[in-house]
């Protein structure tokens, strides 16, 4: 079936996602989501307790665009970059046009002075949606294992 979601397409989207963030091509990041979407950075504790508030919360693509604009134009933070290491997606269900998967992540943060630390680990809880040749995130919850954030979270996970 043409356009059906495959594991290969999920992997390709995941690879594009982390490349976007890690190579400082944030402007391309919102386009990996559907127009109506949900992107939340939260913690395992909040997720378990059903708390909806996020460290970052966007329920429209416009809010993702604004997040990037704020990072570029308004917010002040020391130069830094991430290196995402993403594990294998566990596909929970796949209807062909929509799929759900859980994918573990590890993000190292590299500060401008070279200091490198494990900034976050956790799991992405994703919903993928296919529209023709495009595969996009309809939902991406970045559920961090720890409830602690060191200093600040400038770049998205």
């Amino acid at each position: 079936m043409t356009g059906a979601i495959t594991t290969e397409r999920i992997l390709a989207l995941q690879a594009a996602y982390i490349r976007c963030i890690d190579s400082d091509a944030l402007e391309a990041w919102p386009d990996l989501f559907t127009d109506e979407c949900l992107y939340v950075v939260t913690t395992a504790e909040n997720h378990r307790l059903g708390y909806q508030s996020g460290i970052i919360y966007a329920d429209t693509k416009g809010m993702l665009v604004d997040r990037v604009a704020a990072l570029r134009k308004a917010n002040v933070y020391e130069k830094q970059s991430y290196r995402h290491i993403v594990g294998l997606p566990h596909i929970i269900k796949n209807s062909g046009s929509e799929a759900e998967a859980e994918t573990p992540f590890l993000v190292a943060r590299i500060m401008h002075d070279g200091e490198t630390s494990i900034f976050a680990t956790g799991v992405y809880l994703d919903t993928y949606r296919a529209a023709g040749v495009d595969l996009k995130f309809a939902r991406r919850l970045a559920v961090c294992d720890s409830s602690r954030v060191d200093t600040l979270m400038a770049l998205p996970l």
């Binding site: 950075v41 939260t42 913690t43 504790e45 909040n46 708390y51 909806q52 508030s53 996020g54 460290i55 970052i56 919360y57 966007a58 329920d59 429209t60 416009g62 809010m63 665009v65 604004d66 997040r67 604009a69 704020a70 134009k73 308004a74 917010n75 002040v76 933070y77 020391e78 409830s147 602690r148 954030v149 060191d150 200093t151 600040l152 979270m153 400038a154």
Partner: protein
């Protein structure tokens, strides 16, 4: 001429080092660096005549609910007993000093230390000692041992508008007197009905706790460091607003009223970075502010000495607890909340506006780093001092936020307690 002596260079016990001339307008940098000062703060300040914020009443809503928190460095358990009263006690077993509760909170009928199974009720009373009478007539506690004489230190509790405060001191004034009328009324303004917690997280700050507490009280920096605010005219110094400082100096509230029409040129004229007029949001729902307190005040930041922040940024509501973790490390515990009667629209609005605050907050992320910038900047400057002279030298309430009066208020209170 006064000479500053870094306390680190003094013998063993913490000693009041001479404060530089200029009274409240000068702050010596050793105050953020000295281990002796940290020890003295635990004793004189956190365990002194102050009310430490512990948690929200909503977090210990039902009998048996408990939260684990801290008073400065002291681990503390806050629990609601089956008499429906809230109690707090040091999280330290009377036997060998091990933690009594190991997790961050939950529900319990009593507590048993894992080490030797000494058992405590929800008030912190020692109720049972394992093998107290020995085994087969041998061993056991001495005949004179009395459980009532042993137990973790207990805190006095004060409840105010759903906030739970604790104190180790018998001399601390009642909470309303402690807060002062103006700060108390500004807490009541926000916390006027039952709250529901919507999230919790901790931001680890690479700096001494005082640098963060000063930062929250510092209205001068807000529109200069946080450019997101000024870009959208949410917070300009020339907007209508003001500040109140509690009589003792330690607590404060700053607030502002939105004024979309005003055209301010002060920033542009000064060429200040934060004036970025061409910046526009793609999704303006973030700024869709509901005047939920019916007073036009869109922002209020309030502190209670020594460790509490109440935040209202539009409809983004949160409490923050400031805990010293090391000389140059502070835990900032955020709890976001809404009200039990929030409509789905209001819930959605708060979830969106919570982007304004927190470790990734559009108007707060910088605060997570700026204390570290100071801490790193002063690394070799323990003999130098900060200049805190904006708005003069008093701690009086002012009708402007172009002042550092509340920062001076902090130091007035702090030095009084510390005896330096």
């Amino acid at each position: 001429m006064n000479v500053t002596v870094p306390p680190g260079s003094l013998p063993n016990t913490p000693q009041p080092a001479e404060w530089p001339e200029g009274a409240l307008t000068r702050v010596p940098y050793w105050i953020y660096q000295s281990p002796e000062i940290t020890a003295l703060e635990q004793q004189n300040l956190f365990e002194g005549p102050v009310w430490n914020f512990l948690c929200l009443e909503a977090e210990v809503a039902k009998p048996g609910d408990y939260r684990v928190t801290f008073v400065g460095a002291m681990p503390v358990v806050v629990a609601r007993d089956f008499d429906d009263e809230i109690y707090a006690f040091e999280n330290r077993c009377a036997h060998r000093g091990a933690l009594i509760a190991l997790d961050t909170g939950g529900h319990a009928r009593d507590f048993t230390c894992v080490y030797h199974a000494w058992n405590y009720d929800l008030k912190g009373n020692l109720k049972a000692v394992a093998f107290e009478d020995g085994v087969n007539g041998k061993g056991g506690m001495g005949k004179t041992f009395c459980r009532a004489d042993h137990g973790p230190r207990k805190l006095r509790i004060a409840l105010f508008c759903g906030l739970v405060f604790g104190s180790l001191s018998d001399d601390v004034p009642p909470i309303e007197e402690y807060l002062g009328e103006e700060v108390a009324s500004r807490i009541k303004r926000v916390l006027h009905k039952p709250v529901v917690v919507t999230g919790r997280y901790t931001q680890m700050l690479p700096n001494n706790w005082k640098l963060y507490f000063e930062n929250v009280k510092d209205t001068y920096h807000a529109s200069l460091l946080h450019t997101f605010f000024t870009t959208f005219r949410i917070n300009r110094l020339s907007q209508r607003g003001g500040m109140v400082v509690s009589p003792d100096g330690g607590s404060h509230a700053s607030f502002s009223f939105i004024d979309h029409k005003s055209q301010q040129n002060e920033y542009a004229a000064m060429g200040i970075r934060s004036d970025n007029e061409d910046f526009a949001l793609k999704d303006k729902s973030l700024l869709d502010n509901a005047d939920e307190f019916n007073d036009g005040c869109h922002m209020q930041i309030l502190t209670v000495f020594p460790n509490f922040v109440l935040q209202q940024i539009q409809n983004a509501l949160a409490v923050r607890q400031i805990l010293p973790k090391a000389q140059m490390q502070t835990a900032l515990n955020w709890t976001t909340f809404g009200f039990a009667d929030d409509t789905p629209d209001m819930t959605k609005r708060r979830l969106r506006q919570n982007n304004l605050a927190g470790p990734a907050g559009y108007v707060s992320m910088e605060d997570g780093a700026v204390g570290g910038f100071v801490q790193r900047g002063i690394a070799a400057a323990s003999g130098e001092r900060a200049v805190i002279e904006m708005g003069g030298s008093s701690t009086a309430n002012e009708g402007t936020r172009a002042t550092e009066a509340s920062v001076r208020g902090f130091w007035k209170r702090y030095r009084g307690l510390m005896g330096i």
